[in-house]
């Protein structure tokens, strides 16, 4: 590497510097919203360096290509939306500290490294940076046991999965003599699929499955998502999950591509199991927050189909799905945050009773997000699923697409149940008081508009994903 290549690393460098600056600014700035604003400005500054960042440095350890840029776009949007929905919420939870924003930025930096990792070690580095920040963020409401418990569980299980990941990396290194993803691919094309190679594939698969919460490695998700601050749940179910998909895609579709016929059946099994577990258990939930946690498990099961299908079609469908999922999911969580007020949790299904009568606009937005999560046209959720199914059918997995459609139909039960509670039940007790704020309103507006816009006019997004993967 020499200094002429520094533009490739600029976004990450800028992000790191600004994250440190935001951390320091916390010491001097009293109004914590200002720190949040700084975080948003930092993202904008970082994004400015993205277009000139294409290239490969450190002998292929760090890759900035269309694929990683698309994911970074998701991370940035996710970060901005999370900051927007957080400020008022943190005050309600009496946890308004500036470190929150700095940690979000560090987590984002980790995700950026993951998306750009051309080497398993860099991947691990990014993953740990992201995960450590998330452990802290999960337990950010220090005075609440639920949050503390979630944090500890997440940390211990996360450490467990990191160990598995390292073990997998070690075994791959032992078999191929390299940790570089491209070199692994070329070494593997000349090798036979031995048992020890397959073992290392399984270890990597399990570690990534933990990150994107594929069953049976999803066990941490419901507890952690429920315990974490709602804004962090929204963040975690989108950004880090997308980062997990980014590395899953890069490692399995590039590095382990020669072993594709061996890992595809495993991934299909995990995908179906995940859809089953996520959807079936979501039906059981009375808490909307926990229901969304299970739904996020199920959606990971859908998105994996893109990787199973592979190729330009599959990968771009997966990327689009994650992008779309970001808007609809953060939108739904924003509504939960809107419902939360000082002495009211607003997470239970019963809290949504008759919302359409008392707060028609909020209910309308929730309706939109629920429709989109179910995949009803003309919302974005339909577009996302449509392209996934199409990729699956194109790759010869018609039966898998059918299974997914069946599970989508099951999912309608619990998504639309929220709608039924809002529109067909009478309000109970005193009316829910919403804790809106301009920034939360902005986040809701952005999410709702994009859910509708992508639903009605998807072609720019579809072509964008196709171009960056093609």
């Amino acid at each position: 590497m020499n200094f002429t290549d520094i533009h490739t690393l600029m976004p990450e460098i800028v992000m790191a510097v600004l994250a440190l600056a935001v951390l320091l600014s916390e010491l001097v700035i009293r109004r914590k919203e200002t720190v949040g604003l700084l975080a948003i400005v930092s993202v904008a500054v970082t994004a400015y360096f993205i277009p000139t960042s294409f290239g490969t440095v450190f002998n292929g350890m760090f890759i900035s290509d269309g694929y990683s840029v698309f994911f970074k776009f998701i991370f940035f949007t996710c970060l901005i939306l999370t900051v927007l929905i957080s400020s008022r919420y943190l005050e309600i939870e009496r946890s308004s500290h500036g470190e929150y924003y700095a940690l979000l930025m560090f987590a984002t930096l980790g995700m950026m490294l993951m998306a750009s990792a051309g080497d398993l070690i860099v991947l691990y580095l990014g993953l740990e940076l992201m995960a450590l920040s998330l452990y802290v963020l999960t337990g950010f409401i220090r005075h609440e046991y639920r949050s503390n418990e979630a944090s500890l569980k997440y940390f211990l299980l996360g450490a467990f999965s990191s160990a598995i990941l390292l073990y997998g990396i070690m075994m791959i290194y032992a078999q191929t003599g390299t940790t570089d993803i491209n070199t692994i691919s070329s070494v593997l094309t000349e090798k036979k699929a031995t048992v020890s190679l397959l073992l290392s594939v399984i270890f990597l698969l399990v570690a990534f499955s933990f990150k994107i919460a594929l069953a049976p490695f999803h066990m941490w998700t419901p507890d952690v998502y429920e315990g974490a601050p709602t804004s962090i749940t929204a963040f975690m179910s989108v950004g880090p999950k997308a980062a997990g998909f980014a590395v899953l895609g890069r490692v399995f579709l590039v590095g382990l591509y020669p072993l594709q016929i061996n890992w595809i059946p495993l991934l299909i099994g995990l995908s179906i199991l995940t859809m089953a577990v996520g959807n079936i258990l979501a039906i059981q939930q009375r808490s909307v927050k926990r229901m969304l946690a299970y739904s996020s498990i199920a959606h990971a099961g859908y998105a994996v189909i893109g990787i199973i299908a592979g190729g330009n079609e599959g990968v771009s469908a997966m990327m689009n799905y994650l992008l779309i999922y970001m808007f609809m999911n953060i939108g739904a969580f924003s509504i939960l945050i809107l419902m939360r007020s000082e002495d009211f949790l607003g997470e239970s299904l019963d809290d949504f009773k008759g919302l359409a009568k008392t707060h028609p606009l909020t209910a309308g937005l929730m309706l939109l997000f629920m429709f989109s999560l179910t995949g009803i046209p003309p919302t974005a959720g339909f577009i996302g699923k449509f392209y996934l199914f199409k990729a699956a059918v194109g790759a010869g997995y018609t039966w898998l697409a059918i299974v997914t459609v069946i599970f989508s139909a099951i999912s309608a039960y619990f998504y639309l149940r929220v709608v039924i509670y809002m529109y067909m039940h009478e309000p109970e007790g005193e009316a829910v008081s919403l804790s809106g704020s301009p920034s939360l309103g902005l986040a809701l507006l952005i999410s709702a508009l994009l859910v509708l816009f992508i639903g009605i006019y998807p072609s720019p997004f579809i072509s964008f994903a196709r171009i960056v993967t093609g």
Binding site: L20, L23, L24, L27, A174, Q175, T176, G177
Partner: protein, 123 residues
Amino acid sequence: MPGRYLPTEYLPVAIFIAISIAFGLGALIMGSMVRLRRPYREKLMPYESGIDPVGEPRVRFSIRFYIIAMLFVVFDVEAIFMYPWAIVFDKIGLFALIEMIIFIVILLVGYVYALKKEAFRWE
């Protein structure tokens, strides 16, 4: 040759570890074999400088210990990292200096943060 890599140059280290373990265990086993064994009540009591033990042996440590310990580890690792850097400094030159400055600045930010948050004050 990938796949059949045997780290022969680390063999002395392995032998060293084996000998030290054997030596420690050997001493203990030898002692237990040769010494007399005549226990009585006072001898079996926990050692508390001749005073009878009071209270539970498990007490809660102050959380401060953990913070101090964590900060210690961070700066400790920083110091350890400087040794190999110092050895190859001649070969890498200015670049190494800049890298180390960046590294230290990052740690410095953490230090300033910890200082301002009064992590070092024992209250």
